[in-house]
Amino acid sequence: MIRAAHHERWILPVSLGAAWLLAIAPLPPAAVWLWPNWPALVVTYWGLETGRLLGLRLVFGLGLTLDLLRGGLLGQHALRLTILAFLIGQFRHRIRFHETLTQALAVLALLLNDRFIELLILLARGRGWPPAAFWLAPLAGALVWPWVFLVLDRWRDRSRARTAR
């Protein structure tokens, strides 16, 4: 049992690392607004599945690393990811046991809320309104959510089965 948990512990940092790396992927200008918010998706997965493993303080720290990595306003991702983790903590039991499609809708709502906070920060900095395509990334995120969920779930199942053997 302890060994299984130990094995699983690798999946958390590796999946977070992959999401952080995807967040700085070089994109053609047309794809910038379509690229899903991978860090938010992975934080959502772990928040729903394990609840306590990703505490608010840890998420805040992770958000800061993302801010530094992307070179944006310091504290922006920290705020957005912490709010995301907080909301997931509040609604976890309501979202978790739904089928994937309903879950994707809940994820869409969370991602739209996240984008809305980003918009507020942009406006507060006097950067003006982003193009309408700004709102496409949450949709793309909700569309890839079932696959993110499946891939991470399968991976955890397999590592659990391997250690049980």
Binding site: I24, L68, R70, G71, L74, G75, L79, R125, R127
Partner: protein
């Protein structure tokens, strides 16, 4: 007191308290970062740590481009070579003319006491393919302090002013784009020498000037060049072309916007101008 319900309640209150605390901390951090350059040192230190990750993305992109080049056919390459040879000849001829003009120009500039272009030496740099925050208006290039690059140095692309060096790491440097809202560049109208300051808007296709009086002699299509004031840039580099002038009746100033000469969102290669005469800016 220690019932499960009470425990859950206490846990929730704790979470909410942490959320508020961390939220305030984030807001404080953002406003400090937005106000000034207090966190620049933190940022350049952390980006130095992140550079391997940037290169991790940039390397395959570069390899892919190299592969595409290798796969292009021999005839295409020969045609390219012919084109480049012809271009070199043209440039050589132009260079001869330039040498004579430069001597004449140096004489005139000495009279005006402006910075001379040939005081500067250029370093070629390539922009790393990495997706930074679009609101940050920065790119990373593969040349750094080890190549003599220092904050404040001008950065150009093939068609005009691209930006300025923001901070440096030993092997890399960040360039603040001309279009960053925090970036302002002393400029003049090429046609009549009218001085102004060009500011970024966050949009790579639009720059603005807010300091031109309502009676300024300025037209759509006027070209803006660096004025050489401010010390970092040599005079006469193309910056932008004016594409809209709005006369608002209320204020005494025009609202002028211009289209940058450089391809701020597309260029892959840039030149950094080093000034051997200058120390740390």
């Amino acid at each position: 007191m220690n019932t499960p319900a009470a425990r859950v309640h206490a846990e929730n209150t704790g979470r909410t308290a942490w959320m508020i605390g961390l939220g305030l901390a984030a807001l404080l951090l953002m406003s400090v970062d937005h106000r000034g350059h207090y966190l620049d040192r933190v940022r350049s230190a952390s980006v130095t740590l992140a550079l391997p990750l940037y290169h991790a993305w940039s390397w395959p992109a570069k390899r892919l481009a190299a592969l595409a080049e290798r796969l292009s056919s021999r005839t295409e390459l020969l045609a390219e070579l012919d084109r480049l040879r012809a271009r070199e000849l043209e440039l050589n001829a132009e260079l001869l003319r330039y040498a004579a003009l430069a001597a004449e120009n140096a004489e005139l500039r000495r009279l005006l006491a402006a910075r001379r272009m040939h005081d500067f030496t250029a370093v070629h740099g390539e922009i790393l393919s990495v997706g930074l925050d679009p609101a940050a208006q920065r790119v990373i290039i593969d040349r750094g302090a080890a190549d003599g690059i220092m904050p404040g140095q001008p950065v150009l692309d093939a068609s005009g002013v691209f930006g300025q060096i923001d901070w440096t790491a030993p092997g890399d440097a960040a360039v603040i784009l001309l279009s960053d809202p925090d970036h302002a560049l002393p400029a003049q109208v090429e046609r009549n020498g009218q001085r102004t300051v060009v500011q970024g808007t966050g949009n790579p296709h639009r720059l603005v000037m807010r300091d031109l009086p309502a009676n300024s002699d300025i037209r759509i299509g006027d070209r803006l060049v660096t004025s050489g004031l401010g010390g970092h840039f040599p005079a006469g580099l193309p910056i932008a072309t004016i594409d809209a002038i709005e006369r608002s009746s209320g204020s005494g100033f025009l609202s002028v916007s211009a289209k940058p000469a450089a391809a701020l969102d597309r260029s892959r290669a840039v030149l950094v101008l080093r000034d051997p005469a200058a120390g740390q800016p």
